[in-house]
């Protein structure tokens, strides 16, 4: 399982990476905004994307749009972990095809639950 973690704050990338390691995912990579992340995703055969929303350069929602517009990435599971909490933003992310939405500050249990839920659905769809 190859995972890309995208956030402009390195502390948050580190937190997410450590939590993923606790969940048994060790093959994780980092990018600090959408602009850096997109070419990595296109070349890298990633299985899962965890992204922030508010980032300089290219935001997480624009990254999500780009991912859904790419035939190779269209089915990539995407979890948004962000401080953006306006209802209209959450709805927009859902419309853009996000697979899960966690607002900061979050707990380890919440992140775990959302990730497990995403993979459960994928397993079900694949079976």
């Amino acid at each position: 399982m190859k995972i890309l973690v995208v956030d402009d704050f390195s502390t948050m990338r580190r937190i997410v990476k450590n939590l993923l390691r606790d969940l048994g995912f060790t093959n994780t990579f980092e990018a600090d905004d959408g602009k850096t992340a997109l070419p990595m995703l296109k070349d890298g055969s990633y299985d899962f994307l965890v992204t922030d929303w508010n980032m300089p350069g290219m935001t997480g929602i624009d990254l999500l749009k780009a991912v859904r517009a790419d035939p190779k990435l269209v089915n990539l599971p995407v979890l948004m972990v962000t401080a953006e909490a306006k209802r209209e933003q959450i709805i927009l992310a859902a419309q853009m095809g996000v697979n899960g939405y966690v607002i900061k500050p979050f707990t380890a249990a919440t992140l775990r639950e959302k990730i497990e839920k995403i993979f459960e659905r994928i397993d079900k769809a694949g079976a």
């Binding site: 956030d7 704050f9 502390t11 948050m12 580190r14 937190i15 450590n18 939590l19 606790d22 929303w53 508010n54 935001t59 401080a83 953006e84 909490a85 306006k86 209802r87 209209e88 933003q89 959450i90 709805i91 859902a94 939405y101 966690v102 607002i103 900061k104 500050p105 979050f106 707990t107 380890a108 919440t110």
Partner: protein, 243 residues
């Protein structure tokens, strides 16, 4: 075509010289009155221009809604945001120190127990232990394994808590960036005010790009009731959308 003010004065002056040379006193007085009248009207015009400028400046002060918004809304908001930063950093520091205080005795107890058993084990290896004591040691070792498992699980939970507490850096960083933006805005407005009161430059309208709202600061960003204040709100909203 009308003659300019200078041409007019020059003509009047020439006429005045002619009148004086011809000793025409009535004509000379008339021309002098005319010249004085022109001076007065210039003065009135200048006073009028200054008055208009003052009026415009006063209007600009009153109508600069940006300044009003800055002082009435943004500055109190910034104060709230900075208070929230203090609260969040304090909370993270306390959370981290609490875990350290909770885990230190656990780590100490594990270390003491391992030392004690290690000494006994050495005596056993040196064949310096009666059978009765060996039986006790076996039980102690069994208990030690069980306790170690439990305590290490506690340590692991504590480490995760410490990790999560560091999330404050992202949240407070985003909030402080917004306050920095506000300070820059204020600086800009102050410069405009200074220019305006100097009366030399027109005020420029600053169009600001729509920004992302960022972290929700309680009491500031949740007033309109259009934000999710916790994960349950997000989950409810998403499940209402069929997620």
């Amino acid at each position: 075509m009308m003659e300019s003010r200078e041409d007019m004065r020059l003509l009047l002056a020439k006429d005045l010289v002619i009148a004086l040379e011809n000793k025409d006193e009535t004509k000379a007085d008339e021309i002098l009155d005319q010249i004085a009248g022109m001076r007065e009207s210039m003065l009135f015009q200048e006073v009028g221009r200054l008055t208009r400028q003052l009026h415009d400046t006063m209007n600009s002060f009153a109508l600069d809604s940006k300044m009003v918004e800055l002082t009435a809304k943004d500055i109190p908001d910034a104060k709230e945001r900075l208070h929230y930063v203090i609260a969040m950093t304090e909370q993270a520091a306390n959370q981290t120190m609490q875990v350290v205080e909770d885990l230190s005795p656990i780590s100490q107890a594990l270390s003491d127990q391992a030392n004690e058993l290690s000494n006994k084990w050495d005596r056993f290896l040196a064949k310096d232990m009666p059978f009765e004591e060996f039986k006790n040691m076996s039980q102690e070792i069994t208990a030690h394994f069980a306790q170690t498992k439990e305590r290490v699980a506690n340590v692991q939970t504590g480490l995760t808590d410490i990790l999560m507490a560091q999330g404050f850096q992202d949240i407070t960083g985003q909030i402080i960036r917004r306050v920095i933006d506000l300070v820059q805005d204020m600086e800009h407005s102050m410069v405009e005010l200074v220019r305006l009161s100097g009366g030399k430059m027109k005020i420029g309208t600053v169009t600001k790009e729509l920004e992302l709202p960022g972290p929700v600061v309680p009491g500031v960003d949740d007033r309109a009731n259009d934000v999710a204040t916790n994960q349950d709100d997000v989950d409810d909203l998403l499940s209402s959308l069929g997620f």
